[in-house]
Structures are given as C-alpha cells and as structure tokens.
C-alpha cells in the first residue's frame, strides 16, 4: 500500500503540510474560511519536529503491525479493508489515550476539541493523494508503495 514518506534532507520547515492537512480536515476545505472561521477547533494530523536546520513532519505510518490497533479499547482504531490504512473512528473514540501510549512514533495526538478523541493521519481518505504530499513545496513528502515485490505476492 502507498504510505507517506518523509525525506528529512529536503524538509524546509515551512509547515505548509500542517496548513493543508488542517484545511483538508476542515468542514469547508477552503483555506481562508477554515482559518478565519473554523479555527481554533482544527488541528493538523502530522506531528512536526524541528531541531536547528533539521526538520520533518511525521504522519502516522499505518504500520503493518500497528500497536495502536492492539491498544484501542473501543475498536475505534481499525484498519480499513480497502485501503489498508489505519483509521480512527472519532465518534467511537472515548479518549482513553491507550493509543497515544502505544504508538512508538508519537503520531497520535489528543484532538483539540475537548480532548476527547485521538487525532491522526488518515491518508486523506478518499483523496487520490494526501494533501500534505500534494502541497509540499520541496517534495520532501512523497506518497509511494515501497512494499518489496516478494511481500506483495503473499
């Protein structure tokens, strides 16, 4: 399956990925409207990290063997059958934070709205290419399938 890969060599720390992730997950999906009317109840699903000139944005890895799937007590965290992405049903989530505790990448955050649900990358479910990848000005984020051919066969 295609995943988002980050090339820390080319991340310029502009954080446009966060801007577009936020807009993609807003109601209006329009950048000015989202920021002026819907914020601050919006948050990006990538976790951006920076240390001097080094920076990168880390989205959920949609792990083949996801610890968050084991940890989720409600079944809100589930794997989508078609895309194989790991998705969180935010209506079912009760905010127990077991997934936050389990994810070794720290890719899951507490949603800004009432800290009730877990918020994480959903590969822009339904879109052809995730918003962050489409808008990264330096192609630091790519959307690729790196499954070795041998794994795909099985």
């Amino acid at each position: 399956m295609k995943r988002i890969y980050v090339n820390e060599e080319y991340c310029i720390g502009c954080r446009l990925c966060e801007v577009h992730c936020l807009v993609q997950h807003s109601q209006s999906k329009k950048i000015i409207k989202a920021y002026k009317e819907e914020a601050p109840a919006l948050m990006p699903r990538l976790v951006f990290e920076e240390d001097g000139p080094l920076s990168f944005a880390m989205p959920c890895r949609h792990c083949v063997d996801a610890p968050c799937l084991d940890a989720c007590i409600t079944g809100a965290m589930h794997r989508d059958h078609e895309s194989e992405a790991v998705l969180c049903d935010e209506d079912k989530c009760v905010g127990c934070w077991m997934c936050v505790m389990a994810c070794p990448y720290g890719a899951i955050q507490r949603s800004v709205i009432g800290h009730k649900a877990a918020s994480k990358c959903d590969l822009c479910y339904g879109e052809e290419i995730p918003a962050c990848v489409a808008h990264c000005p330096n192609e630091a984020l790519t959307f690729e399938d790196r499954t070795p051919a041998s794994e795909e066969a099985s």
């Binding site: 310029i12 502009c14 954080r15 801007v19 920021y35 001097g52 808008h135 330096n138």
Partner: protein, 505 residues
C-alpha cells in the same frame, strides 16, 4: 550611531483579508522580514530588509503577499538617478566597495533584441522539425585543416585523425559556477541535468566535490588563477578542461568568495582552510604572456594524455579578437568568451556595470577575425553573458558561436529571482548559499528536473526556428550572418556585427 539614509528598496503588500497568519512567510524569509506577534495573532513585515526575492510571495498558501518597488519618489533628475543617489549614500555610510551579484543590470543596448531572424517563404521551403530529422548535435574542439577520406565501394571512412571533442546533444552548456558560490545541491542539480540532457556543466573555480565524480563524463573542470581544488584526479575525471583567464562580470580582477561561504565541505573541495576568504588573483601568476598560456595548455594536455579538449575562457574586452586569435594559436581547443552581462556571485558593482563588451559584438568580431586569419577551424567558440532565451541561442550561433554557456539562465530555472544579493550568502532559494537552513530548499530532484526541462524546451524552440529558416542542422547556422538583420542599429554596429540592416535583401 547616526541615521541611515538608505530607504527600503521594496515594499511588501499584505492583503489582510487573505492572510491566515500561518507564518510560512516568517519561517521562510532568510532576512527576517516577517515576524509573528502572538498577542495580536498578526504577522508584521519590516520591509526595510526585503531584497525582493519573492520567496514569501511564492510560498504563501493564500497568495496574500506581493512585493513592489518602494514607491519613493525623488524630484525628477535625468542625471542623478535614484540608484546613483542611494549608492553614494551607501558608500558614505560604509566607506566600502559596493558589491553586487548576478550580471550588469544597466540599460546598455541589448543587441540580441535588435537582431531579427529570417524565415523561409516560397523559395527554400521550411522544414518541419516534427517530421524531419533536425541536427542539433554539436562537437566542441579543434577541427583539422583538411579532411582526408578513403572510399571503399559505397563505404566512406575518415582517414584524418581528429583531436578530442566534447559532444553536446544541443548547443547549450551550463556555465562555470563554483561550489562555494553556489550550494552543493545546485551543483548536483546542474550535474544531473547535464547528464540527462546530454550536455556538460562547468565546475567553476571551486574544485569538484568527490560525490560528483560520477558525472565526470558531463563535467568541464576549470583551472582558475587560484588553482582551487586542482589535483590529478580532478583533471582525470572530467571530460574537458578549461583555463579561466577572466569572467564577463568582472574582467581584469580575480574571484572572491567571502569566508562565511567557505564551509568545511567547501574548504575540503577547494583545498583551502575553512572560513578563510577564497581570493583568486587577477592574473594567473604563471601566465604573463601568450607563450606562458601555451605552456599551461600543453601541461594540462600532457597531464591528461591529450585525451581531453582544453579550452580557455576570457572576458570580452576591447581587443578580444586578437586575444582569441592568440589563444587559438596557443593550442587551445575552444575559446569561451563571456560578455559584459555575465553573472557572478560577488563583484564590485563599478566593475560589473562598466567593464567589458556586449557578447554579441565580441563573438561577431572574434568569428570574423579567426575566419580572416584562416584559423576559424582551430577552435570552437562559446558565447556567454546573458543568453536569456532560445532566440538568443540562435542569434549567438548565427553571429559565429559554436555553442553557448548559460549561467544566469540556469540559476533562474532553479528558482533564482535575480534579487542580486548572492554575496550575502542568504539566498532564499537555496542556490547561492552554504547555510544549511537554506541549502535544503533546493531539492536536487526538482532542480535537475527544471534544468532538464529548460534545455528540452529551448532545444525544441531552436528546432522550430531552424526549421522556419529552412535549415536542418545547427552547423548550417554557425556564423551565417545572412540569417540576421539589424533593426535600430547604426552603421558601425551593423558593420561590427557583420549584419545587414532590416529591409535589405
């Protein structure tokens, strides 16, 4: 400390209805123009520091920004322009030499824009480049005085031994830009694009980074007066060598890379101490006559076993024609001539703007001179100094060049906006800088793709223009002044260019 008299050069206009305070502009400006005020949730711009590079404008996700020339009016004065006054203020404040980046920006006549190309109508019909083969391939190097062939039935084979040649799939090469004046990522982009497009790029006087040795077959290694980074492997790896006598942006003086740009990596590649200014002397201190030049040319040929073409690069100065003749007779395989508008990372403004000749006149003069002396075949001529479009390429070749070098054009393809602040080392596009925060901005995948696109686009346009002229090989265009007509030029200019006035058949 007294008041600075220097007004801002640019003014930033921010549409507050569109600004979402995402702070991308704050993060991306290397000159700290924009800043975020968390109390008011507002982005403020101190445009006195703006250099007009358009980084913020380009990255703003809502297109809320634009940059305009600071609309500060002086009383109209045909003699003392705004720029002249400001330069004087600057010198009064600093007591220093005014520095500039890129090429001469003064309104001297641009002869390319006064030359028009021919096209076929009725007789000598046009050729359709999409249907018929169109030869753009060019060989740079010494051509023999006569060619002997042997014929065996229908098979004709070449008997004469031809010296080493540089093969170009299209008559465009990337000009010399040193690692140090530009970033590693920029060098890598040039190297990859040169390989992809079947042309070459030039190391400039910064030496060659070991990781770029794999692009050797597309590399011209330059030997400049500072001899930076010159060692046996450097010469071996390249496909051609070039002795740099001068450059168009600053004829007569040497190169200067400020110490801030000499990082650990640059220092290793150039073989100089880290953090020291890299000064190339004006003359090569072992070249004081044409015989000395001949000696160096042959020393390089010996060192590389006569396998590679050795060229010489000079700036276009008043007696460039006899100089070129001397260089040809000294054994060089090509002469590269860079005109007044050639670019640089740093040069004194007075020299950049006032010294040299336009390349159009220089190439025409050199081509004529070499033909008159019957030695035109002994060297290839490369024209450089602000080749801005495929039309300029065609005109330069028609004036007598075998091929062109593009420098500024290549940088603009990679993202340069000609803000002319290269010497500060704060290039916001990641090109003319060694600052790790900034060099990341030029992704070599993107840079090389853009360069390859440029070469491809121009090559297609050249083919269109050639086809329109009824020519199917670039060779037929070389030095063929009859394909050009001058417009708005006086007789002296027309004579120097060797071109008739428009309207004359």
């Amino acid at each position: 400390m007294s008041l600075s008299l220097l007004p801002p050069e640019f003014k930033i206009l921010r549409d507050e209805d569109r600004c979402i305070a995402c702070q991308v502009c704050v993060r991306q400006c290397a000159n700290d123009v924009h800043s975020y005020d968390p109390e008011d949730d507002w982005v403020n711009s101190d445009y006195s520091r703006c250099v007009g590079c358009h980084r913020c404008v380009t990255l703003c996700p809502t297109r809320a920004l634009t940059v305009v020339e600071n609309p500060l009016d002086f009383r109209p004065n045909a003699n003392w322009s705004h720029q002249t006054i400001t330069n004087l203020h600057k010198q009064a404040e600093t007591g220093g030499v005014l520095l500039a980046g890129m090429g001469c920006d003064q309104p001297y006549p641009i002869y390319f824009d006064h030359l028009l190309l021919n096209a076929s109508q009725v007789t000598n019909p046009s050729i359709d480049p999409l249907r018929e083969p169109m030869e753009l391939r060019t060989y740079i190097g010494r051509k023999p005085d006569r060619v002997a062939v042997t014929q065996d039935g229908d098979c004709i084979s070449l008997e004469t031994q031809v010296g080493p040649q540089l093969t170009l799939e299209t008559p465009i090469m990337f000009s010399a830009m040193s690692y140090g004046s530009i970033s590693y990522n920029a060098c890598l982009s040039l190297a990859r694009a040169a390989k992809e497009a079947g042309i070459v790029y030039n190391t400039g006087e910064g030496g060659l980074h070991p990781t770029l040795y794999e692009y050797g077959p597309n590399t011209i290694a330059q030997v400049a007066s500072g001899r930076f980074g010159v060692h046996p492997e450097y010469l071996e790896v390249a496909t051609a060598l070039e002795i740099k006598i001068g450059q168009g942006a600053k004829p007569g003086i040497g190169g200067h890379l400020p110490g801030e740009k000499v990082s650990a990596d640059v220092s290793r590649t150039r073989m100089i101490p880290e953090g020291t200014d890299a000064l190339s002397p004006a003359p090569h201190h072992d070249i004081y006559s044409i015989e000395d030049l001949r000696q160096l040319i042959y020393a390089l040929k010996e060192a590389t076993n006569y396998q590679k073409p050795v060229g010489v690069k000079v700036a276009a100065v008043h007696n460039v024609a006899p100089i070129a003749s001397g260089i040809a007779r000294a054994g060089a395989d090509y002469v590269a001539i860079v005109g007044l508008r050639g670019g640089t990372g740093a040069a004194p403004t007075s020299i950049r703007n006032n010294v040299g000749l336009p390349i159009e006149l220089a190439i025409a003069a050199v081509d004529d001179r070499l033909r008159q002396e019957g030695i035109r075949n002994q060297v290839s001529l490369i024209a450089a100094g602000s080749i801005r479009s495929s039309a300029d390429v065609v005109k330069a070749i028609a004036l007598g060049a075998d091929a062109v070098y593009i420098g500024t054009g290549a940088l603009v393809a990679m993202g340069c906006h000609l803000c002319q602040k290269c010497y500060t080392g704060k290039c916001n596009w990641g090109i003319a800088t060694q600052d790790p925060y900034l060099t990341k901005r030029l992704n070599p995948n993107i840079g090389s793709r853009r360069l390859t696109n440029l070469i491809r686009a121009w090559s297609l346009e050249i083919k269109e223009m050639l086809g329109g002229m009824g020519i199917n090989a670039i060779e037929s265009l070389r030095g063929n002044r009859d394909h050009l007509r001058g417009v708005g030029l006086n007789q002296v200019e027309l004579d120097t260019l060797g071109v008739k006035g428009a309207g004359q058949a």
